[in-house]
Symmetry: D2
Subunit: 126 residues, 4 copies
């Protein structure tokens, strides 16, 4: 008999749903409010890096690395929650977006360049 | 013989890593820069809801729902990417954070309340 | 003899410049870093309103109103600072932008509508 | 007779108020919604700098400098608008905040250091 490997993301989403249900918090979780909460968490991540050089942002102390991990977790939890509330499959849209980006930024043209799509389009139109 | 169920998040992370490698983009991906890119995507989500009522933010047109899905995907992709660069296990920190939040916001005290921890702590200190 | 009324914004900018100079902080104030610092402060404002209804966000307690005032101040200070560093006249660009917006959103078409320009343009193109 | 020098900020605020009134847009301008709109504009500024080095963020092309100026203007306009709606004097709170910061970050201790207050406090407690 096969015991299926559990999908880590689905498990996490179930745990999150239970956490919300126990506290009866779904009533506060409009997509509008959750988007606000998510950007607040994203900003707490930004705050860790605002006065760092790029190089310093790679080399975190153990203490800062833990704090950064929790900010990533907070952002992730709200991202999962918005997806739940809107019934959007996060894995599916992420896969679809990576496919779109692969077409938008062709390997041969974008290799080693940080140009944005707009810049690339402008070049095409010249 | 057991064919293991693939973990959806690990597959996505591998796809993302390949996308970056093919374009030689790791050089631009300092945590500092990636945190900036992520909050920009989070803000594009916020923009969809800024003039909506909370109720409207639940009831999206098919067109808006698709656009919102792509903003969630963009935010997710940068979140995954920061985690890769810093070698932080997103599932692990999210599980740890939900556990911490469960202690911080006890069910019996927080049920149906949107108070923040700070407010709750203030009440305790009275 | 006329004692000229001082321009409140210019006075504030001078005070801010002196504050930075005394601490020798200009070295940390790249536009990149300052933009990060500003969005962090903007997010602290958002945090005050994330679980409020729109109506509640109008009716702040004295304590909350003071806290909100300080978040507005923090955002303003970084906005002024970026403008100083890039030598951009904030009043001038704001006046120019209001003029542009007046053309983009004609009174007769936009009265009482919260449509974005994109939506308005789409209607024109039908 | 004294002709008073006009205060540039007050003039701007009056112009903004007239712009809103003509379009009957006050109905959409809850502090909650305006805070969302402001952070969206702040993120558009961040986007200009997300792949730049700090040094590059100082040296903008004429075209980019104009675009950055308009993002600063957009952020400023929403900041002014929130202040109007909440009846908060932006100059007054900014002056008060600079005074508070001057006490929080004493010149003799903070000169040339980008430590945050938290770090400074930690040092004191050692």
């Amino acid at each position: 008999m096969t015991i299926p490997t559990e999908d880590s993301l689905k498990q996490l989403q179930q745990k999150l749903q239970a956490f919300i249900d126990e506290r009866d918090w779904a009533q506060f979780h409009s997509p509008k409010n959750l988007a606000m909460a998510m950007i607040v968490e994203a900003a707490e991540l930004v705050e860790h890096f605002q006065w760092s050089t790029e190089s310093e942002s790679h080399e975190l102390s153990a203490e800062k690395r833990e704090a950064v991990g929790y900010e990533l977790a907070d952002t992730f939890v709200y991202l999962l929650r918005i997806s739940q509330v809107l019934n959007i499959d996060l894995i599916e849209v992420a896969n679809a977006k990576i496919l779109l980006n692969a077409q938008k930024y062709p390997v041969e043209l974008m290799r080693g360049k940080n140009n944005k799509y707009a810049d690339y389009q402008n070049q095409k139109n010249v």
